[in-house]
Symmetry: C2
Subunit: 334 residues, 2 copies
């Protein structure tokens, strides 16, 4: 066991995109477990857009990270020193810990992972995680997708979007993804089986949507906000459902953000726009995981992780979630 | 029976607010009923914001009115000449006819009204009509209002809004209305029993909403769009429902309209924004009418009609729906 616990602490409330100076690099002693506690040696840190809200003073759905404390993050690690009978040494754990080498825990909010050699550890980020739950329940429970419908997905090559589209195909739907590069578009059509992909950086989104959705749009899974949502709203069908999972284009905004144009279309179309947070579905996780695992074993569901090496690169890597340069689920190997 | 059938025909697709020159005044012979037809002597024309969409080339939920034809409108009239056994002379009828003295009909889309002296004819506009159905199903079926919740209503002194607020009180909720004059605010609080009213023309809407909704907003009934909706979205509670009945502030827009700011709030709050059209509830009308009638008899539900005299004034009166000068359900006495 190392002698030093490297940490990223939140040093300032970021304005716009995070800067490395919004964090402080600290080297602290490795914590020592007290009664009922244990130390987790952190292995993989998940980087998710929602963290950006936690860095703000207030306004997110979970409490903000206090200035001066270790930045919060979802982690996979292994128990190294334990005085807690439920988490003996060697246990693989997953849950909310800190951006650091070693985290002290009493087990609250952590779950243990099976030691299953047929499933790579990264699958617990890319698939069997909040990512898989988000795609599964967002699409099926909030979006109520039905066979034969047309589904559109923004950030379609992203961690959640790529699963959403594949589940749409499994459910027998026409699936059109919107992404930000040729490589991403090629991946979702050629390898994931989307019916069509639209590169929003080079194509007129509305015209391309019209072409690829000849029967209109029944369900839209929104991760981004902005222009794509505007175009989608002008093509929705009667009783369409727009699932708002995230509005990533707005997380770094420093001023008021315009709302979706074509919003008025929801009246005539009796459409529903609904926000959701995956936290609300954690108690139903087992049900989704069973089905996701089955599809994964059958080869019908793929995921991709984008691994950044080194805890020291976490703050810089975080911005890749917003500039479109990550390819799949972004994680930091510590 | 008169010799002349005065008519307003649609002469042009209006740009922005309608102008009298968008219509043509015609004096035609009174129609003569053919086999199975009858002539309705029109008595009261309902003026509704949704007509504005019908005047456009396309894009509304029902077909647009062709240029050169009599403007469509909801009407109450009495059958004067009939060759249809289901609608004998003297029958009071209600349904979609034209902006004219006499309309020819085969009965399609018309229903007969009871000859009940205890209910004034105008109640079939202000209460027992699409107005009552809109308020009832919009609030209870789409909005799923529950006892003890806080309800906000825009255009709260309008035909629909005033009923929405009263039903909210009947259901045991805190009700706050937003309206555009002191007289309207006084009417909804002093006579209709709203808990509070906000004059959006003289008060800071967000601050006043904060004051009058100390527990946040659970259901918002939207008739207007724009600034009020922006403010409401910043105060919604977890799992709030925003019922979008209309966006009257936008019907005369000649360019793109900004969407609701604070739209992002629906994600963290897992809120739902849903559009609806009363047409979808016509097959359940009897159920709502029974309850509305009961509340009316018990004196718990009031309505107000704003009667404009003379068919010739219909086009000018129509704009009163948009400048806030009407007080209650706007109808034209022909």
């Amino acid at each position: 066991m190392a002698q030093v616990n490297r940490q990223w602490r939140l040093a300032a409330r970021p304005v716009g995109l995070v800067k490395e100076t919004d964090f402080e690099w600290r080297e602290e002693p490795v914590p020592v477990p007290g009664e009922d506690q244990f130390v987790v040696h952190n292995l993989y840190l998940s980087l998710d857009p929602t963290y950006r809200g936690w860095m703000n003073e207030a306004g997110s759905y979970v409490s903000s990270v206090p200035i001066g404390t270790v930045m919060r993050g979802a982690m996979i690690g292994v128990v190294e020193q334990s005085r807690n009978a439920r988490f003996p040494e060697g246990t693989l754990v997953q849950g909310m810990l800190g951006w650091e080498d070693y985290s002290l825990s009493d087990g609250k909010g952590l779950s243990s992972l099976p030691n299953d050699p047929s499933v790579p550890l990264t699958a617990y980020w890319g698939l069997f995680s909040h990512i898989g739950l988000t795609a599964y329940y967002g699409l099926l429970d909030v979006g109520k997708l039905k066979s034969g419908e047309t589904l559109t997905v923004s950030a379609a090559a992203g961690a959640v979007g790529s699963l959403v589209g594949q589940i749409g195909k499994i459910k027998g739907c026409r699936v059109v993804g919107i992404a930000g590069s040729e490589a991403k578009c090629k991946w979702i059509t050629d390898e994931l089986g989307f019916d069509a992909a639209i590169n929003y950086k080079t194509e007129p989104v509305l015209d391309s949507l019209k072409k690829h959705c000849p029967n209109g749009i029944d369900v839209h899974f929104e991760n981004v906000g902005g222009e794509v949502l505007d175009a989608v709203l002008s093509l929705i069908n009667l009783r369409a459902r727009v699932v708002v999972c995230g509005l990533i284009s707005q997380y770094n905004a420093t001023g008021p953000v315009p709302g979706p144009r074509n919003f008025w279309r929801i009246v005539g179309k009796r459409a529903r726009i609904e926000g959701f947070i995956v936290l609300d579905y954690y108690d139903r996780a087992a049900e989704a995981m069973r089905e996701l695992r089955q599809w994964y074993i059958e080869g019908r569901l793929r995921y991709r992780v984008d691994v950044v090496e080194g805890l020291e690169n976490a703050p810089r890597a975080f911005n890749r979630l917003f500039d479109g340069s990550n390819q799949g689920k972004l994680v930091v190997k510590i």
